[in-house]
């Protein structure tokens, strides 16, 4: 034990030092092992087997509730009837999913076979050959591609060719607790304006009971806080770029919209809004911590269906407006096949099942009609059982989705397509930077003016290549 004691006076120092080195070496080995296991998360995907109809396909999906449903239903619903195909799900949060999937397709990595993407990716990805043209696969009469809601189908096509099939589609609307509004003596107008919504939110806000008037996203990410915020910007008459590609982030309408959004969160929003995205607000609503929520229509399929504790207590209104007649967004989480995938046939088999009418019925059998993936197929909305189960939100969802104009969502003309995003490849980076500034403004770490003037600078750099 105490070797140092028995040695001459000069040795203890060295013994001590060597000991320290031994200890440290052991500790650093442990540290390296930890680092290794934390960084080697999702490894390579495609297993053995050639390009045929069999093999392991790796599917990258976003971590929203409907995706965990399909993951649960896949073994019995799909794998049992397709014994040659093994489906491996990789579930990631929205920001990580985009980073990983874009990296994989852009570098031709082949880590994933089926990827979940959005309409904003379609124009560039199809042009670059990163995703497979699905037109001929989807023309199978059993698949009935024309049953897919037209705005969604158009958003997922480029040059008349279909590049992705929607797992679910959504617009945005306002969800509110009928019981809480009634208790406070408030009524929701049929087509509310943002001022009316703000007034109701302030009445319902009750910090003493831990209930916020409204839940709004503040989390960093262009698909997180910028999605609802951009619909507010559009209806206030703002836009990202004018038709000459001059950034408009410091123009008056944009400033008014952001100030309104940030003020509303400060006055009547949830605590810690700067960390909240879709899933956090969903949780707040389920736990009765928020009285209203402006977000994706798909949330209704989780909130207003059993086992949600607030099922049946919800009312729905169209996206609040100011200067436009409608303000909802259009989004679809859609499945596409990577151009570099070695299992394209097997991948299509899976996508065919996952986005088919049969999947909707199968999900309904297992989880009830109100919880099926919405916003994809007209037949779902024509089904009397769905109309009955989702009576409160089905019609409004369909109407919201059909009332959007992806190329002209605001007041002025814009040179890009997209409602809650700017349809250019640089937007992932630009949008993230701007959303960081917005988060800082929501967290009270920065003024809206300074957040927007920084953002204007970022947008200027991007705009140079488009002028």
């Amino acid at each position: 034990m105490n070797a140092a004691m028995t040695r001459p006076s000069c040795i203890p120092v060295r013994g001590k030092r060597q000991r320290a080195v031994q200890v440290v070496a052991a500790a650093s080995i442990a540290a390296c092992a930890l680092a290794a296991c934390s960084s080697s998360s999702s490894g390579g995907g495609s297993g053995s087997g050639g390009g045929g109809k069999t093999g392991t396909i790796t599917v990258a999906v976003v971590d929203n509730p409907l995706m965990s449903t399909i993951e649960k239903l896949t073994p019995a619903g799909f794998a049992a009837s397709h014994p040659g195909i093994k489906v491996k799900f990789v579930t990631l949060d929205e920001n990580t999913l985009r980073d990983q999937v874009t990296k994989d397709v852009a570098a031709g990595g082949g880590q994933f076979d089926v990827v979940m993407i959005g309409p904003n990716d379609i124009p560039t990805w199809s042009k670059n050959g990163w995703i497979k043209d699905l037109t001929s696969d989807a023309s199978d009469p059993n698949y009935d591609v024309n049953d897919i809601i037209k705005p969604v189908r158009d958003a997922l096509s480029a040059d008349g060719k279909l590049y992705a099939v929607p797992f679910y589609g959504e617009s945005s609307f306002l969800m509110y607790r009928k019981d809480l509004l009634k208790a406070a003596g408030q009524t929701m107008p049929a087509n509310p304006t943002w001022d009316q919504v703000a007034a109701i939110a302030e009445k319902l806000n009750n910090p003493a009971k831990g209930v916020s008037g409204i839940c709004l996203r503040g989390k960093t990410g262009w698909g997180e806080n910028l999605a609802p915020l951009n619909t507010v910007v559009n209806t206030f008459g703002g836009q990202w770029f004018n038709t000459n590609w001059d950034p408009q982030l410091t123009a008056d309408p944009f400033k008014q919209a952001v100030n309104f959004y940030v003020d509303l969160i400060k006055k009547a929003g949830e605590r810690g809004a700067a960390n909240d995205g879709f899933n956090e607000c969903l949780n707040n609503m389920e736990q009765s911590k928020s009285a209203m929520w402006y977000d994706a229509t798909v949330a209704a399929s989780t909130l207003d269906a059993p086992p949600s504790p607030i099922a049946g207590k919800l009312g729905f209104a169209p996206a609040p407006v100011v200067k436009t007649s409608a303000a909802g967004w259009l989004w679809a989480w859609a499945l596409a096949i990577e151009g570099s995938s070695k299992h394209q046939d097997a991948a299509w088999q899976f996508m065919n099942w996952a986005t088919s009418k049969d999947y909707v019925k199968y999900d309904a059998q297992k989880n009830g009609w109100a919880a099926v993936p919405p916003g994809t197929r007209v037949s779902t909305y024509q089904n009397p059982e769905y109309q009955k189960a989702a009576a409160d939100f089905a019609a409004l969802t369909l109407k919201s989705m059909q009332s959007v104009d992806v190329n002209h969502p605001g007041v002025a003309d814009q040179p890009y397509s997209g409602i809650q995003y700017v349809g250019i490849p640089e937007f992932a980076d630009l949008g993230t930077k701007v959303s960081q500034e917005i988060t800082a403004a929501i967290a009270g770490q920065e003024s809206v003016d300074s957040a927007l003037s920084k953002s204007q600078g970022y947008a200027n750099q991007v705009a140079q290549s488009y002028k």
């Binding site: 831990g210 960390n275 911590k289 993230t432 957040a451």
Partner: protein
């Protein structure tokens, strides 16, 4: 626990030439078995580094296939005029220095307590070391959602009786949050090192000091602390090397925000490389970071080894 073996050979009388001959022959027989490892290291570290240098001279964005071209040092100019990069440098320094100092101080304190004979010491040690064994990403999520969440978090729940509640810790104290999580994670590492140092301290000397009438504080200052010095120095050095690369906690808890308050260099590099897909600029950043790290590490290592030899001299 074996005593360190002496590396000094017994003094034997051999002619100088014979020594030189055996050395030459023995040199290669000793080096050959090392070659596979050496080649492996070169392949996995040096070749990628050279490639990175080459990429850093290109304008190459993965989102625009087919536009890759040579631009000389333009990427480096962009970096040094980039305000976020400068913020990230400052944040990296904050997120390295603060956790290292805090964890070494707290770690020493806990190690001193654990060195005493108390009931259930073994269990206590295992529990205290556990933060280091939890996967960093999982730990970050626990901090974010279970402890610091403003609505559901445990911290606000426990502070409520004291009139503190509904505090949005992560956003209003973002830098403190990251520093706390890193300190929590790395304190056990420091405890392990310091505890080993304490246990190698000779009990006889301590007893002699007590007989001479020294109190606890005096013993700590004059005997324990000098004895612990090499351990503390190594803890600081290794802690800095690991913590400077902190990524998990920042990615999971704050995503670099709000604004750029918690963006450090590794996180900013990730954003440029895997969100902007600007491979050229990200490579240039990587090169700058490596050069800066080598310079700082060389200086730090030199400083520390000089401290060691100082102590060696004093020991004589």
């Amino acid at each position: 626990m074996t005593p360190p073996t002496s590396t000094l050979a017994p003094p034997t009388v051999v002619s100088k030439r014979a020594v030189a001959r055996t050395r030459r022959a023995g040199g290669w027989t000793r080096r050959v078995p090392l070659l596979p490892a050496l080649i492996f290291v070169v392949v996995v570290t040096q070749i990628p580094f050279l490639l990175t240098v080459w990429y850093s001279l290109q304008s190459w964005n993965l989102l625009h296939p087919g536009t890759k071209h040579y631009v000389g040092l333009r990427n480096y100019r962009t970096i040094f005029s980039d305000e976020i990069f400068r913020t990230a440098v400052v944040n990296t320094v904050i997120f390295t220095v603060a956790p290292v100092i805090l964890s070494i101080v707290i770690g020493t304190g806990i190690a001193l307590l654990l060195d005493r004979k108390v009931f259930g010491r073994g269990l206590l040690r295992t529990l205290i070391v556990s933060p280091f064994l939890v996967m960093p990403a999982a730990a970050a999520l626990v901090w974010k959602f279970t402890i610091l969440d403003p609505v559901f978090g445990l911290l606000n729940f426990f502070l409520k009786p004291f009139g503190v509640h509904n505090v949005d810790w992560i956003n209003s104290h973002s830098q403190a949050t990251i520093i706390t999580v890193l300190t929590w994670q790395w304190t056990p590492f420091m405890i392990l090192i310091v505890l080993a140092g304490l246990q190698s301290q000779s009990q006889d000397i301590l007893e002699a000091a007590r007989v001479d009438g020294a109190d606890g504080l005096r013993i700590f200052r004059s005997l324990t602390l000098p004895h612990l010095r090499p351990y503390l120095e190594l803890g600081i050095l290794l802690g800095s090397i690991y913590i400077v690369q902190a990524f998990d906690a920042i990615y999971m808890i704050t995503a670099g925000g709000p604004g750029q308050k918690t963006t450090n260099l590794p996180y900013y590099l990730y954003e440029v490389a895997f969100r902007g897909f600007d491979i050229g600029r990200a490579s240039a950043m990587g090169v700058v970071v490596v050069i800066a790290t080598i310079v700082i590490a060389t200086l730090a290592l030199r400083l520390i080894s000089s401290l060691f030899s100082d102590e060696g001299m004093a020991g004589r």
